[in-house]
Symmetry: D3
Subunit: 275 residues, 6 copies
């Protein structure tokens, strides 16, 4: 169960309105790696974590609850950036280059659909979708998803930091960027803990002998040229310490040409005897 | 540019048809972490990798090209599992419990839409979407996405392995599971290489002093109860070696209640003076 | 069964082309509350209305059929607004600020995909989806959906009216806005009729004693601060006349901490005994 | 900013596992009118509410925060219903009709993707999308959307109540159904308050004389047959008290056949002079 | 502008309810090639057809209007097939194998969401999307899309015809299948007319000398094995009579390895100088 | 199984960067008829083609493999067009009209999300979806889909050719346009071959007498006005040579008004006896 206080976790106040930037900032609110994604991802992972794993469950609920506060901060910032956006008469704007530039660069839905409010959408207007998130029941797998989300999220926040010189916006982003630093570190710590217990390959509980061991550490050089042989992944002990990397210079097929059986006549596929 | 040979990378032949299982197997062909996702993700990352990073580009193209072969193997397997599926007369099936069970458990689109062929969709019929993939231009971020994809993918393949006793299916899955082991190891190796050069926080090129340092290693205990204080993420040196984890037991807001400025009258929002 | 006449229900002729505005106008053609949505929503509700409810079915078919005419008017208007859009040489446009402004503000798909025709999409290019509509079989619920659709639709049309000074566009919008006035009134009338017969809570046929009566009129103050206690919803007789509103100042949980049972080993979730 | 406590708002404990029902229950978690939809809808509306409207903002934050607790209750219930789901060997299940029925009726993603956890998806597996929600800046419009959401939501919860005889599930649903009763009443109260101040047509701030008044209260009989003339919407004073309903028995077009201007040659549309 | 009559274009009455088949039949109502797709596709093409092309515009409006009647027939049929569907108590159904089979095979949304009405969705529950349709402004291109739609649509209707022995359903399908025959023939006729005037390659108005002529009739043998050399497409005069097919046995790249320039530092991509 | 070489099939090098055009060019990479669509469509059709149809399978694999090379060319071109895009400080750009125009016309995700790389999305940012493709098992139907895809694809490429005067871009497009010419011709040839064997109506294997023959060649004049009677489709021998086109001037319904049976009370639809 949740409680809300009206104060923001951190301030979200731009120096001045900037509706073009508001459109861009939507990316880290409602985009693939925006705050809605991490909030929903951590909460669903938390709710699905079973007994015996309480500290991970608590970790997930702590972070998911924080991300709700970040959604709130970004929604507030976007609404404020949209203040005084020129939304009325196209005609007059066209005569004023600054107005025109702003109107051209705004997301029209910020005027027509949301009335200058933030939207659950990305910087080009794609609505947020749960296709973006994952909660698998395997925490090591999921924490890797989380580390990726915080990495992509911080990268996008940093890019947006560089795209403005509004000190208010930069101030808020410096908070979110710091929290992404914390979260990357925290997921790395949680991953290290799980890997120490379970081993590094997900899932670790599947009997190794049931996989086709002869290719479990092989690298297939399927793009002509061998630049890839220079990497750590191409030779030496494998990262899970259970094998040795091999570089297969000229990978060949292990199987024959397949044939597909014809469908029954009632499906009216093209019949196989056709000549 | 690509070339195709008709032989499969590895055999994809079930012992017997099983249209109910074919539906499930769609998950690792066309689902969020299916083979289409990894193929497209690695190829787009590769094409977007700039000069000076040739070995990573080659790595990505090698792996992306292999994943195309895995799409092919799964498509072949699914088409063969659909062989002899009962697709004709509902009425007669209903009298035969086995037939009926099969028809009830099949994906109806395997008959109506694809004519017993594989589909670019997941195990409940959601079509594949590029919402699933990521290529950011930052390789450390993206390799973390790749490690996650191989982790989730192997987890799903292992679950599917447990759901059948068809030796042909298990044989093919033992190949894919082994390749996922290799790929997890290889992405871990590539990540280790990049982290050694760049540092562990993505992106490493953003000046640390520009982030709000005081919260860059703090853990916010926002879900009542302190089970989360027991983890590695709650105390000690941070994983990037640049800070020390702090556990904030009672996090409070840093900012005041926000207010949102009213929109101009031309948007016909609810007016603010309303009493 | 339907018949079409080529005349428009009302004229849809702009004074002059305006491809930037054409992009915006797409919102009320193919957006969440555009004319495609109301047409499809009313028609599906009508087709699903069962016998004994003929006057509602006829109402729905009357209105759904009218909305098809509105799709037609908007498609026509958009195609005309796109007339003479500068679609050829980027280079030359860049030298002419007006041309450039137009090209920058146009939807590029209006040139590349539809050849200056209207599209079944919103003002940022999201394709129309049946996710937008509802037909539940319960007419009181659905008429509330319809009242909402006409409210949002009129709001958006009014906003678009304010964004142009083309008298032809305004003329057409003044028609659509009036029809939305009529439709809002008509759905309110239909709702009043059904509420008078059925009661105001949807569905009215569920035995009241089967719901947890003690919280059926309570308001939970879960966001700190009690501004919400000042509303009609916080005290007095409930709107269905069956209860009295109560304001719960400090809502507490009614249940204990949940625990989730561990999944079977064959799913390879993180095992619960992990320490 | 939000805080979480681990206790549930109300208990969510089934008498026994039922993975087939778990699939169905997903509808009111992650479907069009599930708890994710109302939580996100109310929170976005709240964050976008401007100053001078504090009591409505608080109302929205109170309710949105409660809906987060309902997401949590449903996620918990679904995970518990999935306990002991038969997820292993297809073959053995096929020999046991009960097992087989369960496996056939389960959502396969509950095993393959979420490891027996709840998913942000509906009862057929469509992922939740922000296409479902609305926050327009006009509170009367949005409260109508909210009343609809609570009406559709309660209807679906009641239908699900009828589809089980598990007393634990019914107990939790009796809570949610009661809360939907409360919320329907509360939105009706808030709507009544706003209508009393603003008038009943959304938006009320648009000058009435700018709409095409002659059709602002007309009903168009576009589906043959006049059953619809029997309704309250067809005659008498309009619901906004500003007009009188008229029933137009034989509606005719008000405009001429439109023609669309040909596109410029550079678009390579079919040329108009074609004979 | 449209008018509706309540009579169906053709009868849509099953011999008996069959909710499992109702789910399947959704495919040709709301699937990729269902009746919603053809209706919307033809209407949008029609509305976008410019002056000088009146007979094609009329053709499109005639057919689009007919498809609206087919949506209506299928909606009616599906609602009738859902009659008497067992939607109540899961428990009791489980004891009755027939009931259980039906409940397992039904689309749960037919009960929970639509109240036994038809839905704008396909046979696995994916909602209809305008991603399915096309209206490009080039009629020859679009009529090819239409011929494809009628081909896929008839194929799916025929498959569904084979999956039932309900004489009422078969009767209705025999109508739709016949209409698809007519429409395939009619689009072929329209295509022949346009090809006779314009030539066969779309668009015909682009100067041939501006394309890379040396590969405009070449076939690239990029999948090992030369089975494809046996087809009409591999040798002889081209279908547009403007060239001669050539079979390139061993296609080679025409260009060098590309390199991608590094992004500016402000994007924080992986830097190119990394070693 | 696939192999990759690093050389491009054809060069993809612009004369100069142009981030606004890069956004537009995304349409033929990741749009409905972009190269991802044809690659995936042909490959899935190929993998699903059954034995006895080897030359068609090879044809599909040859072409699908070529389209992978086109994805690569377009990704490369887009990344190069994005070179030197102004992505940093909004403020400074606003003072420079050229910079500002570029920033306004760019896709913001090219900076924030992909780091100046190509994306699997169309020209307005909609992500690619497998909703765009088809593989039915009936080759005549599918080859018609393919002919349409190459027609729409060439049309879009030609429009994009007209929208730039960059000689490098035009050079690459002249290659793709030529390949689309080849592919249109090749699909026409394959269609001719199949029609010669099977007949022209898809599917040809369904007994003609089972369709409602009396309307199998009729044209329904459902849009007032008889312009459509002037076409080849309205009279004369049908294209399949099996019938004669008839023009039905005043089509009437063949069936009565339908009624829908009421749903059972447990669904809580509006009850039918309501007066």
């Amino acid at each position: 169960m949740f409680y809300h206080v009206k104060e923001l976790q951190y301030r979200a106040k731009p120096e001045r309105p900037d509706p073009v930037y508001a459109k861009k900032l939507q990316e880290i609110l409602g985009g693939q790696f925006g705050e809605i994604s991490v909030a929903m991802q951590y909460l669903f992972q938390g709710w699905n974590t079973s007994r015996g794993l309480e500290k991970y469950r608590d970790l997930l609920m702590d972070m998911g609850t924080e991300e709700l506060a970040h959604i709130e901060m970004l929604s507030t910032m976007i609404a404020r950036l949209l203040d005084k956006a020129p939304v009325k008469d196209q005609e007059h704007a066209a005569k004023n280059p600054v107005m025109e530039a702003i109107m051209g660069g705004m997301n029209p839905q910020h005027a027509i659909v949301s009335g200058l409010g933030a939207m659950p959408a990305d910087s080009v207007g794609n609505r947020w979708t749960a296709d973006y998130i994952i909660a698998s029941g395997n925490l090591l797998a999921d924490f890797r998803a989380n580390l990726n989300a915080e990495s992509q999220g911080r990268l996008q926040a940093v890019r947006l930091y560089e795209m403005t010189d509004d000190r208010g916006v930069k101030d808020m982003l410096s908070w979110l960027i710091a929290r992404d630093t914390a979260h990357q570190n925290q997921w790395m710590a949680a991953i290290a803990e799980l890997e120490a217990q379970e081993g590094r390959v997900v899932p670790n509980t599947f009997p190794r002998e049931l996989q086709k061991q002869e290719v479990a550490y092989a690298f297939m050089n399927l793009s002509a040229g061998e630049e890839s042989s220079a990497g750590r992944w191409a030779s030496g002990k494998s990262m899970d310490s259970m094998g040795v990397f091999q570089y297969v210079q000229q990978p060949v097929p292990f199987a024959k040409k397949p044939t597909i059986p014809p469908a029954p006549p009632s499906l009216h596929n093209t019949p196989p005897m056709l000549r």
